[in-house]
Symmetry: C2
Subunit: 301 residues, 2 copies
């Protein structure tokens, strides 16, 4: 199966899982459940689920466990978008080509939707049917990636950096937290879903891979904010410049940004090559991870 | 030790644990960490930690595990207060006698503070040094109580009920979710920290106890909103009536509300009596739980 077919199939499968797992909107409090479903369903590139599925393939993880991990990752990601779009943060009206959650359901409900999705994410991890020790590790990895040492921390740095002149290192630190931490967690959690504890060498290489594609993802995001238009992007283009936010493009320029993204993807591919050399168990099993890396470089939205 | 000494000692002990466990405000992103510490430290009645410690005593749970459980409970509670106080929700300026978190740090940081505290709560559960299976149960109980089937769900019902005439049953359902779910979780998580899985009869009785004091707590809250003044309360008094929110006092009147609170406390005390009769293991070990119930009835803030 080529990457497009695989990723489309995985995304549809994920959508079915999410429809089944999210609290139904005919159960009280139905309005909150409706908003949670609105925030998660029918949208997004599902990069984090794809990463978890692809990393899980490396270690022969069971699909059922990966499904719940994918849900947990996407709930956290979705909640962060809902909160990020609110007036006190980015004040955005469009997301994934539709109204942002708070625009549709009101600000208070938007905040609660995000809050409830975060709790639901940790609940999902308890539904994996993995051993207790594995669930505990998954909770720890996800909580670390989502909290102040990860995503929320990156958003705080981002918040404090508007109208500031950031250097490249600080910008990169911010993104390593803001988006990188959850991308790293996505790949790691796929590994931890395997029956055996992954060997440290594999963990190290998956981190190298994930950190590289995470950074490339962000650089491409900054490039698309300048080069793509709103219709293709599904969110408001040109916002970074309008808001005087530091980006890779504003620091490095378009050309150097493209080179940086390519370099990061190369680093990611090198990590995958080292994984294949690590043991014959992994041989031929990094294809999906490689395709994800190449997709991130070539995406147009 | 009498209740006042015990609860003061536990609250100081909790404070020390929280000071140590919360990310230090000299670590990046320091502003977020400062706000997280501001939201949690130096405030509150610590009812949820007290309940976890008291329930843990019943089953001989280790203090270290209870400490992390107490932290997790209070992080969730604190985050809910931070978000609840924001302009799009209750728009409050005072909490525990000091400025609300978003008033001190700004709205965006307030939202992130709450979000990061929720993640930190689940992280704490992985630090209990309990068996993986126990951690998984604790995560499940906390996530259920905090999410749309619990606290967030109750807040959503609350949100949709302003300016509505609620009947007593709907008001009670709302509070069972909004505050009751986390109070139930506090007692349950104390039990689950014991070395053995608690017997179903004990779980049932602890739930009866916790649900009764949870309801009494809310009825007393509604009474205090009418009868106490802002200085003693540490938050703005008289807000419910000013905002035309349905309360026990508005539906039942002051007198009947007081009787209802007393009845719920009686139900809680009966549950404790049944626990003592369940097995000699529990004899003489429900004293703290009883004192908490009596305190809830008599509190003036």
């Amino acid at each position: 199966m080529d990457f497009k077919s695989w990723s489309t199939e995985r995304a549809s499968h994920f959508e079915l899982c999410a429809k089944k797992a999210l609290p139904p909107d005919n159960r009280l409090p139905w309005k909150l459940h409706e908003a949670m479903r609105y925030a998660v369903l029918d949208g997004g590139k599902r990069i984090r689920p794809l990463l978890a599925y692809a990393a899980g393939e490396l270690v022969g993880a069971k699909e059922e466990a990966l499904d719940h991990i994918a849900l947990a990752l996407e709930y956290i990601h979705s909640y962060s978008l809902v909160h990020d779009d609110m007036p006190c943060m980015d004040n955005d009206t469009l997301r994934r080509g539709k109204l942002t959650t708070h625009k549709k359901y009101g600000e208070a409900m938007g905040m609660l939707t995000g809050d409830a999705l975060q709790a639901q994410a940790f609940y999902e991890l308890t539904q994996t049917k993995l051993a207790g020790d594995q669930i505990a590790v998954l909770v720890k990895v996800l909580a670390t990636a989502a909290g102040s040492a990860g995503m929320c921390g990156g958003q705080a740095v981002d918040l404090l950096s508007v109208h500031q002149k950031l250097d490249l290192d600080t910008l990169t630190l911010m993104h390593r937290l803001k988006t990188g931490a959850m991308i790293r967690a996505s790949a790691l959690m796929g590994l931890y879903a395997g029956e055996q504890l992954p060997p440290p060498a594999l963990i190290g290489l998956i981190i190298q891979y994930a950190d590289a594609i995470g950074l490339a993802f962000q650089v491409i995001d900054d490039i698309l904010d300048v080069t793509a238009d709103t219709a293709v992007l599904g969110k408001t283009a040109g916002k970074d410049a309008a808001e005087d936010k530091p980006t890779y493009v504003s620091i490095l320029g378009l050309n150097q940004s493209r080179i940086m993204a390519q370099n990061e993807i190369n680093r990611a591919l090198e990590a995958l090559k080292s994984i294949e050399e690590l043991s014959e168990i992994y041989q031929g099993k990094t294809t999906r991870l490689e395709e994800i890396a190449r997709y991130i470089l070539s995406r147009d939205h």
